[in-house]
Amino acid sequence: MTPRDPAIARRGAAAGTVTPLGRATPAASRLLGAASAAQRSLGRWGILALAFALVTGLLTHGYHLFSYPLYSTDEGIYVERAWAVIREDRLSPVTYFYDHAPGGWLMLAAWEFLLPKHFDLFGNPVNSGRVLMLLAHLASVFFLFEIARKLSGGLLAPVIATFLFNFSPLGVYYQRMVLLDNLMVVGVLLSLYLLLLSRARLFAGSWSGLAFGISVITKENAIFFAPTIIYLLSRRTKGDPSHRFAMTLWLFAAGMSMLAYFLYATLKGELFPPQMDFNLAHQPQGHVSLLYELWYQLHRNQGTLFNHGSYLYTMWLPKDRYLLAAGLAAMLVCLYLGWRDKERNLGFLVAGTLALEIAFYLARGSVILDFYVIPLIPMFALCIALVADRALKSLPGPAARVAVTVVPALAAALLLLPSGGYLLTHDPQTGKLKPNDVYYLPLTYLQQEQIAWIQAHIPPTARIVSDDDIWVALHEGHPTYPYDESHFEAASDPAVRDKVFGGNWQNIDYIVLSNGMKQAMILNNTGGQENYILNTLNNHSTKVWQASRGKVSLAIYKVQK
């Protein structure tokens, strides 16, 4: 019996066999069996399901967007760099040292540039970035929906995937933030979506390569997805006359986007370190270097993700243990099914390996920040959706009818039961039922009050050490504070530390503490570079303003000279 056998085709379709997605090349035809649902248009139910996904994404991520979570240092950094692109025609207001490729904040700068009042349109400058993140999330929802639909050949998987992607508190928390990872995810999903287009041909593949390349120069860890995407492209064009061209153009488009970053460094004379010095013990002096920074990043190590006290236990599991546990299990199932039958279970193989690649990235033992979990969320959602879809389709009739009611019940439990925690939780202090913090707890008003106090009480000529979260507000607001510097730069960038502050506490007028900034200064003080600021804070300053809510605490110190 060959795969062309109609019986197999029917059985495959009935069991939700992954459809081959696209033009019916000979190889694709074998995979297809029956006419693919993936090749069909959305239909009325599909449009309704997609609209539901987009609207719920808009609501979960848009509601309370400007109030929670607290503006983070990283959000401030990227808004600050976008500000530098627009206002100063450079990639950073201070020395750009190739810590990240600039694709993300170039997009952010383009967005800000298009807005009528640029950074001021939505109040705090970070807010306009968050609106972009909302749009990015909606784009990701669309792509994830379509990817799940094309990989599963039905509507159940996309509905489940986008439900988890939209409602997971872990996702809502991080996806609202102005982070490069959120833009990177859009690029990766777009790259996959283009490869899965039912009319996908050569040029769609090239655009896919370009989207992937841009996602890598938005956030470098996107490169971990490359094996699966290239494999998918290869499978999609297998047996097609355009195969070689498609592979070549994809690699070219992706590669050239990345090479642009290296070309930039070359043109700036910053590709290699001075005297080709790659000694990690002593950072070479003279100028920054892309290759040195890459070398440095590759050798960073910060223990394992599975230590108690790691973000896995302190941030991710408390926010959504269900997604992480079910996602891990579903990833393993996907890998098993996909590996067992690569021809018929392409979708499982794709979803499983995508999740595995980013899970490997997180678990490999290098430096991990809490928001690095962002790309894992859609991939876990996809795995769960595909496995659930397959499980439901393989159930016999009566059981399937029961299961059809179980799925919405599970969703409702996640949303409404406090133990689910997606919408409602118990207040840890009072034990009362309340909405999840992401829809309820206002925090950013503290930072707004801090900024307002500065603008009302501190002269614009003051030399301030602050955090990046309010940097653009102080540089773009009224009045502006041109001598406000981030403590990272005040400690580490010679152009700021030596030229603005001279490394001397007496040249600091105010220290504006963000939440956890003092702790960050201590962590960043391995070489003693923060000493003069910490010394100022501890021995030569007086607190002149403070605000707190729960564990969040902000303060302003005036230096006594």
């Binding site: 050569l202 040029f203 006359p241 061209f245 070549t248 153009l249 070219f252 043109l267």
Partner: protein, 435 residues
């Protein structure tokens, strides 16, 4: 002043990039379409249409007999084929060789070949074709060049396409074959490969097509109705294609690796430049003539104008290339400007990679072997070849401006028919003579 210069540099770099991207799009158009768009029919209808084959020849003693032989022995009933060898009266050598072959064929019972000799000027291909057109008696008129190796089933292909699709004009595929003869032949081969296999399909779909000079099939009545070929035009094929497009005549392009007409690359750089100069000048002539203005839609007019004006752009590209080399080595520009000015280089790399894959596709399709040395040669020859094209385009522009319109004939040595690609002594003399 600096800002103005940078703005100009950025603007031109972007323009070149867009143009180059569009060229890449045309180059790969076929591979982005369903394969049925390009393929020949898998099954042939019984022969019904009759064909008049015109073989315009000048100083083609070396190859004309073989070409006649191939046409006459095609897999199509001889009574449905008429062959007209078209020569000017002064070309005694070719006429003699053709007559010799005709006599030989008559002995075998083939009486469907004759020589048409024209006595008046200009001595060029379109004039010869117009002179022979009144002698054509069959349903369909087609042209093959004297050095062409046609596929035996080409008439079956066209008969089937014309009968099933009810089209009156069919452009068949033409393919240079001797990709390893000279340092530039692989690139020349690829130009044909992409032109016939891809670009022409796009032009046909858009309804603004510059036809090829051979393996093109016209309904005879249609051909007579539009008045034959323009004798003053160096690329009468491009001109007639646009004139037909202007009448909204549907034109079908068939490029199927199995049925291409095989040709050879010019044997020397001089010959190549002269051939390319003629084509470029012909396009410029056609542009000035304004045939493209008669196309029905703005998009068609724009496409035709772009195609015809391309030689001018190509000449400018050559200048830009030299200029950019100079600026790359000597000019210190802001990083943003430098990055944008590198975009054309990126596109150049894309074109090169596509060429490497294209050569792989070409050799695989024709049962040839591509080696790593071929890729290296392609890489080494890449830029000189682009400069050679730009030089030929510039030469065409200059000739057109100076009003020089004579036909610079390309010599043929039959390199696509045998293992040797070196011109023989006799052929070398002929090449010099033709030059």
């Amino acid at each position: 002043m600096h800002d103005l210069f940078y703005a100009g540099l950025v603007g031109f770099s972007l323009l070149v990039t867009v143009q180059s991207a569009h060229t890449l799009f045309l180059t790969l158009y076929t591979w982005d379409r369903p394969p049925t768009e390009a393929r020949a029919p898998e099954r042939f209808l019984p022969p019904r249409l009759s064909f008049t084959v015109m073989l315009p020849a000048r100083h083609e003693e070396a190859v004309i007999a073989t070409t006649i032989e191939r046409v006459v022995r095609a897999n199509y009933p001889a009574n449905l084929i008429q062959v007209l060898v078209v020569c000017s009266v002064d070309d005694d050598g070719t006429i003699a060789k053709a007559e010799e072959k005709i006599t030989e064929l008559r002995r075998e019972g083939y009486g469907n070949v004759s020589v048409v000799v024209f006595h008046d000027n200009p001595i060029n291909k379109p004039h010869g074709l117009n002179a022979a057109l009144p002698q054509a008696t069959n349903d369909v008129v087609t042209i093959f060049d004297a050095e062409d190796d046609i596929h035996p089933d080409i008439f079956n292909v066209v008969n089937t396409v014309m009968e099933t699709e009810h089209v009156k004009v069919v452009q068949g595929g033409v393919q240079l074959m001797n990709f390893d003869s000279t340092w530039f032949s692989a690139l020349n081969v690829l130009e044909y490969f992409f032109w016939f296999k891809s670009r022409l399909h796009y032009f046909a779909r858009q309804g603004a097509i510059t036809l090829g000079g051979n393996t093109v099939f016209f309904d005879r009545a249609l051909l007579v109705r539009i008045g034959g070929w323009d004798e003053t035009n160096l690329t009468e094929d491009a001109d007639i294609g646009l004139r037909l497009s202007g009448t909204r005549e549907k034109i079908r392009v068939v490029y199927d690796d199995r049925y291409v007409t095989r040709e050879e690359t010019p044997p020397t750089v001089t010959q190549f430049i002269k051939q390319r100069t003629r084509w470029c000048q012909g396009f410029i002539q056609t542009m000035h003539k304004g045939t493209w203005k008669g196309l029905p839609t703005r998009k068609q007019r724009l496409l035709a104008f772009y195609t015809l004006a391309f030689p001018i752009f190509q000449a400018l590209l050559g200048i830009y290339f030299l200029f950019s080399l100079l600026t790359m080595l000597s000019l210190k520009t802001p990083v943003q400007v430098a990055l944008i000015s590198y975009l054309p280089v990126v596109m150049l790399i894309a074109h090169f990679l596509v060429s490497v894959v294209g050569l792989r596709e070409f050799t695989a399709a024709h049962g040839l072997k591509m080696t790593r040395a071929d890729v290296v040669r392609l890489a080494v020859a890449w830029l000189p070849y682009q400069l050679m094209l730009a030089y030929a385009a510039g030469r065409a522009v200059v000739r057109q401006m100076r009003g020089i319109n004579n036909w610079e004939k390309t010599a043929h040595v039959g390199a696509h028919r045998g293992p040797s690609s070196e011109p023989t002594e006799n052929v070398k003399e002929m090449v010099d003579d033709a030059a």
